[in-house]
Structures are given as C-alpha cells and as structure tokens.
C-alpha cells in the first residue's frame, strides 16, 4: 500500500445544467488512471461544491458545464475556495467553453480548461504536472 497521499479529485457540475455525460466520462477515466474521484452529481451550487471539496480533502476540483454560465460559476468556485483558505486546491474546467472565454477564466484562477475533443491523457498530464510541482504534498 502506498505511503504517500493519494491524489483525490472532485468532479463537479455547477449550476442548472443537467447533462453530465462528459463529467461522468472524465470521472471514470481519471479513476482508471488510478486517482480517487468523487463525483457530486448535477445541479450543485458553488457553495456546495466548495463544502464538498473541503470535506473530501481533494487536491483538484474539475468543473463541467455545458450551459454557458461558466464565466459566472467557475470564478465563483475559485473565489469561495480562496475565501475558505483553500486556494491551494487546483480548479480546472471542461465542457462547452468557447476559446475566447478561456483567457478570462484562467485570469480568474481556473488553471486549465479542457474543451470538447481533449484526449483524457491531457487531463492526466495536467494533474501529474501540478502534483510534481508539490500541490499534493
């Protein structure tokens, strides 16, 4: 059994969008890559997502949204995490995110955005690169 802290990832669906095929796909793929993945289910408030992230002691929160409200909801999750003294938790996003929104999201603290068509290996590489940088200590 491993002596180091296992990487735990929360996959969350903020807002009113009820389509979670993509979120579930990513959750399963990350499980198969050897991570412990917690899935919230659909229609979560940013407040609930942050509460779950803290209780589950995850190092990553992956947000999935297809409704177009990402510019509102993704930065709000980042902000609430920082307010809860948990700014060390890495937030990334996916779903239907237009290219022109990505710079703004990154500026707001969303560390990576994975649009449709991203191979899952890119997500795994991102997680590993953050972990090597000492995020999951």
């Amino acid at each position: 059994m491993s002596q180091k802290n296992k990487i735990r990832i929360l996959i969350a669906k903020p807002g009113l969008d009820g389509h979670d095929r993509g979120a579930k796909y990513v959750a399963r793929a990350l499980r198969d890559a050897g991570y412990e993945v917690i899935y919230t289910g659909i229609r979560q408030t940013p407040e609930a997502i942050v509460t779950i992230a803290l209780q589950e002691d995850v190092q990553f929160v992956g947000l999935s949204l297809l409704s177009g409200a990402h510019n509102e909801l993704f930065p709000r999750v980042v902000k609430l995490l920082r307010e809860a003294d948990a700014g060390d938790i890495v937030v990334f996003g996916g779903g239907i995110i237009p290219d022109y929104d990505i710079p703004g999201l990154k500026e707001a603290g969303v560390q990576a955005v994975f649009p449709p068509g991203t191979p899952i290996s890119a997500v795994v590489e991102f997680i590993e690169s953050c972990s090597v940088a000492g995020v999951s200590s």
């Binding site: 059994m1 491993s2 002596q3 180091k4 802290n5 296992k6 735990r8 959750a27 399963r28 990350l30 499980r31 198969d32 890559a33 050897g34 991570y35 412990e36 993945v37 917690i38 899935y39 919230t40 289910g41 979560q44 408030t45 407040e47 609930a48 509460t51 779950i52 803290l54 209780q55 589950e56 002691d57 809860a84 003294d85 948990a86």
Partner: protein, 327 residues
C-alpha cells in the same frame, strides 16, 4: 507535519483539519498514530461515562438496496435533534489501477451546505471486509471532532461486510425485496451481523414476503443478547425512517444497559491495534523480501528465522500514555 496543531483543529471541529486528519490516517504514514494518540489523550477518560457518547451506526447491504438514500433520511432525523452528524461512505478501490469512483454523496446532496453535516467518501484501498483499514481510525477522528452520530456505509458484497462489525456500535443491514435477496440473505454471513434489518423499498410487491422470510431466517438468532429487529422503510419518501431512527436509539440504550456497547467499543480498540500491528508487519516483510531477494533465494533456514523473530517479539511490552509499562 504538525500533528498537535492538526489535533487541535480536529477538537475545535474545524472542517479542513478534520478532512486533513482523515487523509493522514488514510495515508498510513507514521504521524497518523501521533495524531490519534493526541486525540485519544484529550477525549474523556474512559470508565466514568454514564451517557452513551457518540453513536457509530454501521449500514451495509447489497448495492442498490438504498443505503445512501436511507442515510440521507437518517441525517435529517439526527439534524432535527440539533446534533451534528458525520457520514463515512466506503466504496471499493480498483485492485488493478488503485483508482476509485466515489459517488455515494450524490444521494445525500440535500444537506449541501449544512455545517452540522460532514460527509466523507473513502476508497477501500485494498482493505478487506469491504471496509478500508483506515475507516476505524477515521471514526476516532470524527468522534473527537464532536459528531454525536457517525454513520458508516460500506459496500455489501457477499460475506465480506463483516468488517463493519469491528467499527460500529450498532449494525443495520439494508435489503430490498424481489432481487433474489431472500435466498441470498439465508446463505450469506449477513444474517449474523445485523442488530436491525431494514427492508427498504417496502412499497414493492414482494416486500411482505421478504419481511416474512427475514423473520423466519432470524428466528432464535441473537446479536449482543438481543433478537434482531426487522423494519420497513421507503427511503425515497421518508416512510418508516422516524420509526427506524427511534429503533436505533432504543437498541443503543439496550446495548448500553447490558454492557454490550462497552464490550464492542473495547473490541474496537483491540481491532485497531491489531490492524496497525498487522499492517506494520506485513509491510515490513514485503519490503524485506523484495529488497533482499538474493539472500532469500540462497536459502533461509525457517526454524532459525522463527526463533530469531520470536526472541525479538518477546521483548515487547505494553506501555501506557506516560510511557510506563502496563503489565
């Protein structure tokens, strides 16, 4: 790692400290025992308690029986009393990749931001008995953090859920009618572990047959000197949950009066010690075997090795928190 500071945070009920303490316990690192000792030392001294203290309720049963939904309802019942409640939901890790997908809290999301509710998902990480080896210590962390009720949910597959016995004050077995459970229930080890049996989805047509066959199967069975009870719920609608919650409280009182509760809790400490020692020994031998493969392949006299190990173990003594010998 500052285990004293972490222990302070846990005792103050701070969510992030509690969550990190659980991660530390799960990691198996040596500091976890420092943390747990810190917590045990500051808990109320044993022996003088008149009250029951924190109640640890174990819930097991086959996948799809409605365990998570039932727990969500029980959380409401506990919260109506004003008490804080914690849930530990254990799911299996993949034996191949070590990964896990933990989704039990989806059914508990009515309690999203209620500060009186703490829910933690845990992967079994190779632990046997359907329960992670760390679950036992996590319960200790949650008790120290001031949760009056702690509900532990474990995957129920076949006979392996006996693991939940070692950490719960009271065990609920959730079953559902019409899924072949009648026959399963009779043959599997689950018939010996429940203090309470809950036939969930009791609005299904075969529910009464299920209740009848359970009652028949449990005839003359005693758990902690008491006959197990069979109850009916429809967790999705909340039907029967108030009765179930009352039955849990009454059974805990009975177990407390007969001394059975205290016995189970002492057993829990013994099991935790055994778990730690077994884990340590098995890791030690695995590491030595893989590191010293050459020496081993040249041939080891078993009798001599046994004698050497026995001599080493004979030097062991029990010590108390002040470092004095306990024997």
């Amino acid at each position: 790692m500052d285990t004293a500071g972490l222990a302070q945070g846990v005792l103050a009920g701070q969510v992030r400290s509690i969550a990190r303490a659980i991660s530390l316990v799960e990691s198996g690192r040596a500091e976890r025992d420092q943390l747990l000792d810190e917590l045990r030392r500051r808990d109320d001294p044993p022996g003088e308690e008149q009250s029951i203290g924190a109640a640890v309720i174990g819930i097991t049963g086959p996948p799809g029986a409605g365990k998570s939904t039932l727990i969500s309802r029980l959380i409401m019942s506990v919260r109506e009393t004003g008490e804080k409640v914690a849930v530990l939901a254990v799911d299996p890790s993949s034996p191949f990749t070590g990964g896990a997908l933990l989704g039990d809290r989806i059914r508990m999301d009515l309690h999203g931001t209620d500060p009186g509710v703490f829910i933690r998902s845990m992967a079994s990480r190779g632990g046997t008995g359907g329960i992670s080896a760390a679950a036992l210590e996590t319960v200790q962390v949650l008790v120290s953090a001031g949760y009056g009720t702690i509900i532990v949910e474990s995957v129920g597959v076949g006979q392996s859920e006996v693991g939940i016995l070692t950490l719960a004050d009271i065990v609920l077995v959730a079953l559902t009618p019409g899924s072949g459970d009648e026959i399963q229930a009779l043959k599997a080890g689950v018939m010996e572990i429940g203090d309470l049996y809950v036939v969930n989805k009791a609005d299904y047509p075969q529910a009464e047959a299920m209740v009848a066959s359970l009652n028949a199967a449990l005839e003359e069975t005693l758990r902690g000197g008491l006959a197990p009870l069979v109850l009916r719920t429809v967790a999705t609608e909340g039907t029967g949950v108030a009765e179930l919650y009352r039955a849990i409280g009454e059974r805990l009182d009975q177990l407390h009066r007969t001394g059975e509760l205290e016995r189970r809790r002492q057993q829990r400490v013994i099991d935790a010690l055994r778990e730690m020692a077994t884990d340590l020994f098995s890791r030690w031998i695995s590491e030595r075997l893989s590191a010293d493969g050459d020496a081993v392949s040249r041939g080891i006299p078993f009798a001599a090795m046994r004698q050497e190990l026995e001599q080493f173990l004979e030097q062991f003594t029990w010590r108390n928190h002040n470092g004095q010998r306990n024997d």
